[in-house]
Amino acid sequence: MKGWMGKFRALFLLGSLSLILSGCGVDKLSALKPDGYGAELLYDLMILSIAIMIFVFIVVMAIYTFVLIRYRRKKGQEDFIPKQTEGNKVLEIIWTVIPIILLLVLAVPTVQAVFDLAETSSDEADIRIDVTSAQFWWQFDYAGEEISTSQELYIPKGERVYLTMKSADVIHSFWVPSIAGKMDTNPGDNENTMYLEAKEEGVYWGQCTELCGPSHSLMDFRVVVVSPEEYEQWVNDMKNADPEATPDTQVAQEGQEIFQNNCMSCHAIGAQPKGVGPNLTNFGDRAKVAGILEPTKENIKNWILNPNEYKPGNTMPANLVNEEEAGKVAEYLMQLKPSEITPESAQ
């Protein structure tokens, strides 16, 4: 399929079209800058459909322009009565048949791509990740690995990673434009699957694309694509992380205690037990706090004190701890760095 599309592109000078479009948007976010198998497949389909459509548009506009110039009523024609044509069989057949052919040209690769992207994992050795969405964050559980992360999904470059997706509350939708298309996460039994296959290392934007409440637009996540070796190292680091480890500094130790007394009913550190809030095992490695804020101590503290100010409608309670305690918890969380493989190292 890819090879066939490649030839197609060369044949019809679609390359130039791609060139114009690929100027649009920023890297790692734009669907016009594909870096993954799915995104490239869809990009090619997009270019094919745009080319067909531009062809149609040019034909329509040519007739349109001619008609409007040639048949505009001129001075002295006020009483002119044109011939009352009923129609023209031949013409009408032509503009019925040609669109059908054009649509077939588009329909065949469309159906192929639909089935291509519907592939599910058939091998136990595949990397399989359960994605669970909630208002307004993402949980990633690595099947068979006892690893859980929130907000940041680590995957190896060049390998197919199979996702099984569901939601803990309302419908959300998982979208990483530069790597693959999107898929809804539904509550209940309607689980969905898709796969990611990234072709470049880096940190990609992910977004929620189904209206899910006030902070829908702030439900960002990251996909961290690293080399297969780095991925292996990351998996080992995560597995070996000790959730109970005592921090180095006095402040962080106090923060740990406050955290264990106030926050552990919702937030897990380590893969078990699963909390109802985001998993914080590698919180200190994260590129952003809550998907949107810079990871400074001040931001973390403010978030703990009043999360609704940053993400309206989220269910984390405000003022569970006082300002001083929040600062200590922030200190503790920031030193949770189980791995050297981080978004920063991937960039």
Partner: protein
Amino acid sequence: MSTAVAQKKGFGAFIWDYLTTVDHKKIAHLYLVAGGLFFLMGGLEAMIIRIQLMKPDNEFISAGLYNEMITMHGTTMIFLAAMPLLFALMNAVVPLQIGARDVAFPFLNSLGFWLFFFGGLILNFSWFMGGAPDAGWTAYAPLSTTSPGHGVDFYVMGLQISGAGTLIGGINFLVTIVNMRAPGMSYMRMPLFTWTVFVTSTLILFAFPALTVGLFLMMFDRMFGSVFFDVAAGGNVIIWEHLFWIFGHPEVYILILPVFGVFSEVFSTFSRKRLFGYSAMVFATVLIGFLGFMVWAHHMFTTGMGPVANSIFAVTTMAIAVPTGIKIFNWLFTMWGGTIQMTTAMLWSVAFIPTFTIGGMTGVMLAAAAADYQYHDTYFVVAHFHYVIVGGVVFGIFAALHYWWPKMFGKVLNEKLGKWTFWPFFIGFHLTFFIQHFLGLMGMPRRYWKFLEGQGLDTGNLISTIGAFFMALGVIIFLWNVIYTAFKEPKASADPFDGRTLEWSIPSPPPFYNFKQTPLVRGLDALWIEKSEGKKAMTPAEPLGDIHMPYGSILPFVMSLGLFIAGFGFIYQVDNPVWLSLVFIGMGITLGAMFVRSVKDDLGYHIHKEDLEKGDGQL
């Protein structure tokens, strides 16, 4: 009696007349005014949305309010603006085009309007009663069923009541068109606008009940504790998506088909040519209506229906492009060889062709199911449906208003101001929405309260917001034109545009009984045929005789008011069962009015032949 008192009484009588009217022409006025006001509301909401998205990380309005804005903008524009404005045109024109004295069910016609109006009021009352609905106009469960407060309750009750009105209107037009055509007007001699209204009414009839059921399920879940969409008790949230789109997709054809009819009339009239390929146009209209029911799941490609369902719905959706393409080419060839007169109505129609072609093309792109994994729920979709709904429906409504204004109000809208309406709106429209295709592909999802800095979306959004202000300017100039025309323009003749169809054979505006004598139709473009044979008027199909007319009635207003009251009872009984009393009062009023309607004979009255001869339209 002083003149002030006389005027006051006059005003009261005027209001009472409109409250009780069953005359399709006055109901058209009601639809136009109510739909116009809701259109302004929806437009205001749109402006607020665009101001919020003017720059990255903007805090103009809060996230919660933003979701209320987008929900109300979509719901208002579809249900309370576009639909009623089309109903205004249907009411104003269809009976005249088929040579009828009224619609089949004048009483139901009035009931349909008042149901729509009170439904719309309920929906908009939410702004003042604790907050508007905030789950999007699609109201996907369980976001909608679990949304706190009463916002979504207002959505459910408002749409349920106004939806009933729409359904009644649809049935009314179906029967009118089947039973009330003038002698000689066979189906294949009906003007294309009437044809499209016919197909649209069929779509209303078969699509709205699905919404009715969906809204009932949501109402039961929110207000009476059922668990249709509660996965913990075995519920299934996808049911709502299916029911909503089984209604929702035909709905877009309900909107677009009548304006296809409008454009067909306008192109034909202002090119002074018969519509090219009339029978193909009729066939394409019917085919679009039919296929409209086969494609609903293309709104759900990312829901997870599996590759087989996605492929089927992709192909059926693409198929709709064929009849639509036929229409575009037939319009072009209607103008081909004609003598094009660029009136304002024609300008809107001419602008529609490239705009709608773009909208149709992006529609085909979206139909490519796999590629939709990238487009779905992004600004690409937002751009697409504004190209078809604004570029199609709104352009069409503007064309129709400029075309039929003399028939509705007796004066031709000022041409100069008409063009001043067109240009800012047209330019503003493309500024606003063309760039949104790219914003979507660049990674901007729809319904986003904020986009962030560093996402490369700043310029596009700014351009889009600037465009929106141009559109607003166009609308303001149009309003000015309405006022200006009312005071400054001379009375219009019966046939100011050298029209082709029956509505132009009677005075502008027509007498309340429309046709003194029912005309005899001898072919397509009935009036044109007579004019081309040198005759000035239609040949009557009957001798002058008594005309049977229906009585006005306040009952439709009362019935709708009862449901309006009951609606609030349903919404608030969740908080306190005392509110159930409102349900009983409201339903009592409605059922009581229905009972009165049932037992009181309403046979109508006759205008006598002598009065017709004497009055000559002065009745």
